[in-house]
């Protein structure tokens, strides 16, 4: 039992990272209908920035906040400079542009911060003895912390989307750009904010992952893949779906590694394919995604 609990908490902590990144993908998808291929890389850039700031002596939490601001600006910049002008001309070319951004940011990170892996300090205590024992199970504070960050972020996003004007405007734009424009919402600004917000969340995800994994240019490559699977599983336009999807993947991974002997960690993808197909068979827009009506 205690072993099971330990595995579940580890799985949920891993899943929280995917959930955070999936949230960022969902926020972008809701605003412009794109899958932001560069989301993970912008996050990695932010994590490198955190590393620079902490090395210069700033406290970790402040560094993360500042890096989130950077992530906001970079992502918003991508929307304004890259996505919007192309979107007008041909939406399918946006994929190519975003893949270009992915490559450029990924390699820019290497140019700016070099190629050596770095250690990123955590906001949570990460010493070997920093665990609490619950039901005879040692649970690491840093892992519980990551799950906590996800919950806090969810609450904040819920408040943003339901209680603030800007959040309501974002939902309106996600729902229908033209009508939003008509009622006087500045759609351009809202899209910019959506991308920026996603950029910040991506940085947060990277800053949560890097302390346990080591910070290198490849940090977000595989989490990005899993996060996009999570977003699709939960429904691309549903924040709650992204979180559920992320946690499902994290727990699935933990179960495969822990209890399915004939499969290993490397067989996660075939298992995810099966889960994805079963879910999408019944709900083609994901667990919580909204169905769209087809018109002739």
């Amino acid at each position: 039992m205690s072993l099971f609990l330990e595995r579940m908490v580890n799985g949920l902590a891993d899943g929280s990272i995917y959930a955070l990144l999936a949230l960022a993908l969902v926020v972008v998808f809701r605003s412009t209908g794109q899958l932001n291929f560069a989301q993970g890389e912008i996050g990695t850039m932010g994590a490198f920035f955190v590393s620079t700031l902490t090395l210069s002596g700033l406290p970790v939490w402040l560094s993360i906040v500042l890096a989130m601001v950077l992530g906001f600006m970079v992502a918003a910049g991508v929307e304004r400079v890259v996505v919007r002008p192309i979107e007008h001309r041909n939406p399918s070319a946006v994929i190519v542009a975003l893949i270009g951004v992915f490559l450029a940011v990924n390699q820019l990170n290497a140019m700016i911060w070099g190629v050596d892996a770095r250690r990123l300090p955590s906001v949570f205590p990460t010493g070997a003895d920093d665990f609490v024992t619950v039901l005879d199970t040692p649970l690491r504070i840093s892992r519980l912390g990551v799950i906590g960050v996800l919950i806090v972020l969810l609450v904040l996003l819920w408040l943003l989307f339901t209680k603030t004007k800007i959040g309501l405007a974002m939902r309106a734009v996600a729902n229908n750009q033209e009508s939003s424009n008509l009622v006087g919402i500045r759609v351009g600004t809202v899209l910019l904010l959506g991308w920026g917000l996603a950029g910040s969340i991506g940085v947060l995800a990277a800053a949560m992952l890097a302390p346990s994994a080591g910070l290198s240019g490849t940090l977000m490559l595989s989490p990005f893949l899993l996060a996009s699977v999570a977003a699709v599983l939960g429904g691309l336009d549903s924040p709650i779906g992204a979180v559920v999807g992320g946690l499902v993947i994290g727990v699935t991974e933990a179960v495969i590694v822990g209890y399915v002997d004939f499969l290993g960690a490397d067989m996660l993808m075939p298992v995810m394919l099966v889960i994805l197909l079963v879910v999408l068979l019944f709900r083609p827009s994901g667990l919580f995604g909204s169905e769209r009506v087809e018109r002739v």
Binding site: F29, R30, G33, Q34, L35, F37, V82, I86, H88, R89, N90, P91, S92, A93, V94, I95, V96, A97, I99, G100, V101, F102, L103, A104, N106, Q107, L108, N109, A110, M111, G114, V115, G217, L225, S228, V229, A231, V232, L236, D237, F262, G264, D266, M267, L268, M269, P270, M272, L273, L276, L277, L280, L281, P284, S285, G286, R292, E294, R295, V296
Partner: protein, 424 residues
Amino acid sequence: MDLPRRYMRGSWQNWLGRALLFGVVGLFMFRAVSEWSRSGLGLLTDALIIAIAVTGLNLITGYTGQLSLGHAGFFAIGAYVSAMLVTGKVWTPFIDGNIWTPGWTLPAAAVVCFLIGMVVGVPALRLKGIYLALVTLVFTEAVRAFFKYDKFEGVTGGATGIKGFNYLPPAWTGLDGRADLVTWFFWLSLAILILVSILAAGLIRSRVGRAMVAVRDNETAAAVMGVNLFTIKTVVFGLSGAIAGVAGSLYGLKLTLVEADVPIFGLFGSVTLLVAMVVGGAAQNWGPFVGAMFYVFVNDFARSVGEDPSGSLLLGWLVDDGTTLNGLGGVVFGVLLILFARFVPFGAVGTMRKWRAKVVQVVPRVPLAAMAGAAEIPADSASMAKNTDGDAIPGNNDSGPSELPRASVEGADPSVVRDDESAP
């Protein structure tokens, strides 16, 4: 002289235009073989192999509008099928020692990928846009995981992969064994590219092709008008996968090894093919060829900038002699992709068509007005109407943000008529 000048399809001017195009490309190919160094020819061969795979992708994504990131999976399966057959890893009836000649593994790879492609096509019945793209992407990664799975090691070589095979030119070619290996693969790839392009072009012009375009432009409407969505999606997915599989098979034979971690067998490969397709121009006959050439040669250029920035035109004035900048090649290529998407949004071929249409247009023999009224071929009318934009882009106008590829917003000039030149 009034511009644009209009010519009837099949008129001598139309044929002259085509002859010129083929002549130029053919001349280029012959020059490449005789003049280029082996490395250039090798790179060109890579481009041809990618072009074959993109031709497959173009069928399902470009013409049928089903966004697939699964083609690296087919590519990998094709490569593995060839490798497993030539090294005798799987039991096959009627084959002595289970050892196949490399040439026969190409159609075998096509058959296997066709069958798997049909299965992958089934989810496409329910899934759209990014949902389908992601499911097919997971398919790619799942294929990769299966090839690495240690329980199948006897057949697939596990994480180590399969090595130690080769495809030497057969005697009838008159080529000299190892020394002419590059030339052999070049001609082989070119021949296969021509073959699949002709097949693809034929398919596009057939009823099936018109049904594909109808599905892309408005699935519901197509279904209402009698297109069997199940058949179209599964069969086209199968064909598309088969073509990508043949490309993978060539790739594996050229590389002389297969290993699941080769980047082109995973996410990177799927993205490569998609980029090449869009850059060349989705739903364009010449798109795959042009896109693959762009991808391979521009990437090569970007890498050469990164290798020696001081020696390049682009950055030579900026950096000191002998500097190497980590990752510079990648940044250059990324930026070039962004610029390309910004300024050539409909892909190279689409944009060239648009420019050309300002000067010369080819109109079908049946007048447009008569065509629009032709009620007796309902499945085709939607596609013909859409076909007039000359920049056919996959997707659906009405489906909203749940679909990534949407029809072009701009450039729908009804006077510009798509001409279906047969492919290279």
